[in-house]
């Protein structure tokens, strides 16, 4: 079933929001307003967007270190995200997490995660909860091509399969783990083929085509909701920025490779599609863009105007009371 125009516009809006949000985060980083490890998702927006568009507010996701896109796609508040990235008291985690640990349990975003592969077992728990709730809920977990080499990946894939968990494994294959090519790191030729070892359907999709991602994920989510168990989606894409924002770039990927992928920009591709199909006009696109920029400006203002936590706030929240 083809997507309705309204849905296509929503996909585009989400991708563009992620793109503009992260462009701004990058600027704020190099302006010296943001510290620490900031892993940007620019170039990969179609994956989080396409997958999460199939999820309900009550469905849950678990993300990884490159998590801003997943947060936005699942419906997190960009003001609270920005404030967290700035280390402010008003942020999602009161400044205790930063870019790598944004979570919003209220929208089913169970956290970005700084440890490669660690989100997968946690997602198994979220999916088990969905199964126990018996309301056809599902969970999705995002990880990179590097994540598939952790033991936790294999334990989680196997567990999800034998328990028939309603869980979608989404591998964001951007072809590198930092600078290590995924082709080098994997013993078989294709990542998605690993799914077969766990008796779950696995497929590969163009991760820069939001509609293709959406469609692939839709089938998987449907199967999971109907009790058919987990699936594995490998979405191929490319990261435009260095592994994380840094003045001392150690990016050793070939520049021509990046240039070629930039021509396959997921946001622009969707934009062209919407224009060609007459879903949106140039003027409407412009309007949407400035609306998004306005929201981001507001988020940055909120972050900048917010106070830092007091030093002794560091002692709070070690335990729930």
């Amino acid at each position: 079933m083809p997507l309705e125009n309204k849905e296509l516009v929503n996909l585009y809006r989400t991708m563009l929001t992620i793109r503009r949000f992260e462009e701004r985060v990058s600027k704020e980083f190099f302006d010296g307003n943001v510290r620490g490890y900031v892993h940007l998702y620019i170039g990969e927006e179609a994956i989080a967007t396409g997958v999460c568009a199939n999820l309900l507010l009550t469905d849950r996701i678990v993300s990884h270190h490159r998590g801003h896109g997943h947060c936005i796609a699942k419906g997190a508040d960009i003001r609270l995200m920005m404030a967290e990235i700035f280390g402010k008291k008003t942020g999602y985690c009161k400044g205790k997490g930063g870019s790598m640990h944004i979570a919003d349990f209220g929208v089913g975003m169970l956290g970005a995660n700084g440890i490669v592969g660690a989100g997968l077992p946690i997602a198994c728990g979220a999916a088990t909860a969905a199964q126990l709730e018996g309301k056809n809920g599902v969970a999705a977990v995002f990880f990179g091509d590097g994540g598939v080499h952790e033991g936790e990946f294999h334990e989680a894939m196997n567990l999800a399969s034998i328990w028939k968990l309603p869980l979608i494994f989404v591998c964001e294959n951007n072809f590198y783990a930092v600078n290590t090519p995924s082709k080098y790191a994997i013993a078989i030729d294709e990542i998605y083929k690993r799914a077969a070892a766990y008796s779950m359907p696995g497929m590969v999709v163009d991760g820069n085509d939001v509609v293709a991602v959406h469609q692939a994920a839709r089938e998987m989510v449907k199967q999971a909701r109907e009790g058919g168990g987990p699936s594995f989606l490998e979405a191929r894409t490319y990261r435009w920025h260095g592994h994380f924002e840094s003045r001392m770039s150690t990016d050793s990927r070939p520049p021509e490779e990046l240039a070629a992928w930039k021509k396959k920009c997921p946001v622009e591709a969707m934009e062209r599609k919407l224009l060609a199909a007459g879903v949106l006009t140039e003027a409407q696109l412009k309007e949407m863009n400035s609306q998004i920029l306005g929201r981001i400006e507001e988020a940055v203002k909120f972050a900048k105007d917010s106070p830092f936590p007091a030093p002794e706030d560091a002692l709070e929240d070690v335990y729930s009371t």
């Binding site: 849950r60 999602y92 077992p121 946690i122 728990g125 979220a126 033991g151 567990l159």
Partner: protein, 321 residues
């Protein structure tokens, strides 16, 4: 009052709390037949031998509203899941700014004494004490294990209960009616006036036997069982030492950076208590070697009644300058 074993008492705690609260899940690698029979397959889950998946899934379940028990069995197996314990369970409450609760009970057996050799014999609680965010139980009697586990099952934090493998068959009085034991409340297992002995886990029983023997010589030993290492009842220990002026800490774990060191520190760093000391504080701990297999060696590397007695005599004999 009726007497039941330590093992039964722990089991009763789980059963009673699972009856009280339907949103509870149990995971273990072997089937607990009695639990399965009463609570069914959905809640009583058997995992493959996948400790990371189990420990992590407990986090995802808890973060999704299900109170979860994960029985790891031997603490050495828990090391396989160290990422999930140390990077995830211990930190999620804090890292996410306290926005979600993680009611989890992890159970592991600790200790040695049955020629299980190094990979099945360990007392690793001080490692976990050093990573804030986990609560740590060290029950030594049937009464304590039931009361502490029941409290754990009403607490909203990740809790690890280390249950000594040598205690499973030990019998003790346990009331039929519902009770809980607050965390952070040490139990004075025997009152005394000459020397305070803080004993951990199974050592409580050895120290009590020694105290009984020494009482025949007129040495009055006060035996304190902290019962929970996190939170630790500093007050009760300091108060006792202020009274007796002497402290011996007895722990089966290796000595270096162990819980016994922490117990000595909290006494000597407190000026008021320090000023009451009449002798140097002493530790009787496991020797700093991996646990050997052959029985004579195994017995040699852990505290026994002889070593405990010698340490108490030594602090009693101390005359100063």
């Amino acid at each position: 009052m009726r007497e039941i074993t330590y093992r039964q008492a722990g089991n009763e705690a789980i059963i009673e709390e699972f009856r009280r609260n339907k949103k509870t899940v149990h995971m273990s690698a072997d089937l607990p037949a009695d639990l399965r029979q009463e609570f069914g397959e959905a809640r009583i889950r058997v995992t493959p031998v996948s400790e990371s998946a189990m420990v992590g899934a407990a986090i995802g379940l808890a973060g999704s509203g299900y109170r979860t028990v994960a029985n790891i069995r031997m603490a050495t197996f828990g090391f396989v899941a160290m990422d999930q314990f140390m990077n995830q369970a211990a930190k999620i409450t804090y890292m996410f700014g306290g926005q979600a609760r993680f009611p989890i009970l992890y159970r592991m057996t600790n200790g040695l004494g049955s020629s299980a050799a190094a990979q099945h014999s360990i007392n690793p609680y001080s490692m976990f004490m050093n990573v804030p965010g986990l609560k740590i139980l060290l029950p030594s009697t049937p009464y304590d294990v039931k009361g502490l586990l029941k409290t754990a099952l009403r607490d909203d934090n990740p809790v690890i209960s280390f249950e000594h493998m040598g205690l499973g068959g030990v019998k003790g009085a346990v009331p039929e009616e519902d009770y809980t034991i607050p965390f952070g409340q040490a139990d004075i297992k025997r009152k005394g006036t000459d020397v305070t002995v803080v004993a951990l886990s199974k050592m409580v029983h050895d120290v009590l036997a020694v105290a009984e023997e020494l009482s025949k010589e007129g040495i009055s030993v006060e035996v304190i069982d902290p019962r929970t290492l996190v939170p630790l009842d500093r007050e009760t220990i300091r108060k006792s030492v202020a009274k007796t002026g002497r402290l011996v800490a007895v722990d089966e774990a290796c000595q270096t950076c162990g819980a016994a060191a922490e117990i000595l520190s909290l006494v000597v760093e407190d000026t008021k208590t320090f000023e009451r000391l009449r002798a140097p504080t002493k530790r009787v701990c496991g020797l700093d070697v991996p646990v050997p297999f052959s029985p004579l060696m195994e017995q040699y590397v852990v505290p026994d009644r002889e070593k405990i007695t010698a340490a108490i005599r030594e602090v009693m004999a101390y005359q100063g300058k």
